[in-house]
Symmetry: C2
Subunit: 523 residues, 2 copies
């Protein structure tokens, strides 16, 4: 009953970086077995007894930090080289004064200097399914709070439906469910229509289910109800709002994609996020391994040697060389294959295989939390304009100001359009398009930042995409080492662009390294 | 397009205290108009200029506290008499050492003395729709956090389905949606079946929608997908879990009610709850009006007089009398009509009209947060056993211990069964039935408390139910004053058992009182 991961789905995932498949690691299991066993328990390396191998880690993103943390705890010697001015990779939280190192469009974040005014332009949420990331949040005591992907009070806006007026998601969903149930109930009444595989008892239960599912009235009609909501004061005899127009609902693009987004295994509740910004995870890792991380170190040569790996890098205009027993490489594959190296041909080829995603996020500081007056606390509004989404912050409720996500786009053509603009033009675009969803939007917005990941220095891309074809061509080859050199990062997982892939790729490499250490191959 | 509130629905609401209609106050509005205007803005009484009227408030629940807060701010003199040993009414948070004042079954809460170990046996969540309660949370600066009614990793358990095994809600929903869409798509293919009111274009859009809605494959079949989740590691070529069995899904009672619960206007996200317990609202009110609240004061006579209201009460074994210009009475109606009074006959009769709901909640302290290991953070599991629900705490993530809601029942027969047990037998029941959902449940539970609201001293009931019949017979009469005597509380709203009703009833009475003050009738 399983189906193959299709090329189409891979591209959807690419298009998504949101509609991603999940990181749940349990083997195929009997339905409903409870509690589930997560077979891939967190890695716990055995302490090194003799000489401590020296492990060189290239990149201080999540996979590099996980590796350094685990290795150091087991007694290995670690060096982490990071090209950027900061650790974390795409785990980034922007606050007052932060520099956005986009090539050609450097920005300084102008948010007020307040603890609740921050923005996560990279990962911003953690699904409960991602037990690797959750493990480190627990272990490092990173406080979490709920994150809300679906909030019924947010809006869907499409110029082709409802004259472009934004529609509350709750009313949209309730109305469409109601009409679907009404139609299906009608077809149940027609003899012969839904006979197989149903007997009469099933049909009666199905009918009862449809009435509950669609809030149908006794005559089988849908006329709105508790889910579209009250039209009266709670001090009066209650009346409910009627449903939205069925044809208009189907005219909105929202119903073909975004509407179902929060049903996905790793996009549905409960989603969590660190209190104070996603980079709290980085901060907590750095409390343990910060002294091993060297910033501004740009690798320009990787040589496999008989005894390990020799890496040359530049830092502060000087060239340095490190000979390490093992190298764990988290640099994006498309940058690695342009670094001078002596990798075997098949390995070098495999590095060229994954496609690289693009995405842009825009953060906007609002002088007033106008969305709270509109009964919105967290969640996502959707529009078929280029900005695609508006997110309302899950933190800082009732405070004076707040930072919205004003755009989140992942379709390559859209990202290219936005990336071609100056930073100020991007903000203007976000404001203009946001005005279709919120009255007086422009007056509320004070300042903003944009992050186009494929233009960010030392990254030049976002999540990696392995299609079925490229997976079969070279994924396993790249997952295996070249000598003592291992590739890591979320790019070494089939799950696209999630931190969980970074964690799991590190565990995979570490387990392999440990095996060789235990066998005396690395000493 | 509105429908009347039926007797059946009222009873459903009674059965619910969960499936309640919402407190949204806006008038019937054009669809999609944004932003909405909430016409019932928070009350703001005009400051008293001359002699300050003395207002006697009976009951320090939410409606009494709201009234005292607003009156005091405007310069009125207030006295609040509260029969219980504590303020808050059904807004109650239980912690280490708290006394549960149930008649005949007094309990002392044995939770460990830790800030995160608390339990809200009364209201536990605030929907964004409840703009009155949210207004006070904002104004009194009560920190809020998200509350999660629907979490896809929680379980549905029914002995008649899946051999009684608990099923993850996300897989349940995804599978049933998939099969529904498949059936409906099939009926679309039959000419004549769904013709009216559709033309061919609509049918194409409907077909596309169904494919998205049900995650159908190109052949129109449902075989599981991203919503049932991965069956493989994220380091492999992904495969998805297949769907659950359709007949078994329909065999579960979950699909007829609980499945749709979080779609209701005031049960869907975003729900919020105060950080630290629901009684933080009470605590914050008391910072302003605490000195006006007198505890342990049991009213035994209410006399309407020409100049106001004379109330006699006992406190510390002494009888006291207060003559007040106005009396705002929040005592449950079924207790008021047994207090000696001289109300007009129609008013006294109206007091007898509302039915009174029952409900029981059980809180269980767990020595380990086993649900987090099972990927559950917040949310509700459902069972058709008497305990009905298990809630996982929305607070205290990653801490050592936690307090679960181990039962929440509102069907009168079930509440009666549980209320007839000793407190320890109730805990045993909650453990036994919880074992159907979680392995090793018994070993995890350390201690528990139960609150049967209809046996709680000075309350003897839970939410009030106004049916269409009783509403027409006497609701408006009771909403109007008897002389200078006003009834308040959530009992004076058609919304059952929510704090929002308490707030709105207070605003309603205060507006009326102010009108009389401004007209010189009360001076």
């Amino acid at each position: 009953m399983e189906r193959e991961f299709s090329r189409r789905q891979c591209l959807l995932l690419l298009a998504g970086a949101m509609g991603t498949a999940s990181g749940v690691m349990h083997a195929a299991r009997a339905f409903g077995v409870s509690p589930e066993v997560t077979p891939h328990a967190p890695i716990h390396l055995q302490p090194i007894s003799g000489r401590a191998p020296h492990v060189l880690i290239l990149g201080a993103g999540i996979s590099g930090l996980v590796a350094a943390y685990e290795l150091k705890r087991a007694g290995y010697r670690c060096t982490v080289l990071e090209a950027s001015h900061r650790a974390g990779g795409r785990n980034l939280t922007l606050r007052h004064g932060d520099r956005i190192d986009e090539l050609g469009s450097e920005q300084i974040c102008q948010f007020d200097n307040q603890p609740n005014l921050y923005f996560n332009p990279g990962p911003a949420r953690i699904p409960a399914e991602h037990t690797g990331v959750m493990h480190y949040c627990r272990e490092l005591q990173v406080p979490l709070q709920f994150f809300c992907n679906y909030n019924r009070n947010c809006y869907a806006q499409d110029d082709k439906a409802f004259n472009g007026k934004p529609i509350r998601l709750g009313e949209f969903h309730a109305s469409l469910r109601g009409f679907m149930a009404e139609l299906m109930n009608k077809s149940l009444l027609s003899p012969g229509q839904l006979d197989a595989p149903f007997d009469e008892i099933d049909k009666e239960r199905l009918r009862a289910f449809l009435h509950a599912y669609g809030e149908l009235q006794e005559d089988g009609k849908y006329r709105g109800g508790e889910r579209t909501g009250l039209s009266t004061s709670i001090l009066e005899l209650p009346k409910f709002k009627g449903p939205l127009d069925f044809k208009s609902l189907l005219a909105s693009e929202y119903c073909f994609g975004a509407m179902h987004f929060a049903e996905i295994e790793d996009q549905g509740p409960a989603m969590m996020t660190p209190v104070g910004g996603m980079d709290r995870i980085v901060t907590h890792f750095l409390q343990h391994v910060g002294s091993d991380v060297s910033l501004g170190a740009i690798v320009n040569r990787i040589q496999l040697t008989d005894a390990g790996v020799r890496v040359t890098y530049r830092q502060n205009n000087q060239s340095h060389t490190i000979n390490a027993d093992v190298c764990l490489n988290c640099i994006p594959t498309h940058l690695v294959h342009a670094i001078e190296n002596n990798f075997p041909a098949d390995y070098a080829h495999a590095l060229t295989l994954p496609e690289r995603g693009k995405l842009v996020k825009i953060g906007l500081q609002a002088r007033e939390r106008f969305w709270e007056k509109d009964k919105i606390y967290g969640g996502i509004s959707w529009t078929n304009q280029d900005i695609t989404q508006i997110w309302y912050p899950e933190h800082g409720t009732f405070m004076a100001k707040g930072v919205l996500l004003g755009a989140y786009s992942w379709v390559p053509e859209i990202v290219d359009r936005i990336a071609a603009m100056s930073p100020s033009a991007r903000i203007e675009l976000a404001i203009q398009q946001g005005e279709r969803l919120h009255a007086n939007y422009r007056q509320h917005i004070e300042t903003g930042v944009s992050v186009c990941w494929h233009r960010m220095n030392h990254l030049l891309g976002c999540g990696s995409i392995w299609t079925e074809e490229t997976y079969n061509q070279g994924y396993k080859r790249l997952q295996a080492p070249a000598g003592r050199h291992y590739m890591m990062g979320d790019q070494m997982a089939t799950l696209i662009g999630w931190q969980e892939g970074a964690v799991r790729s590190a565990w995979h490499a570490l387990a392999h390294v440990q095996e060789r250490v235990l066998q005396g191959e690395i000493a």
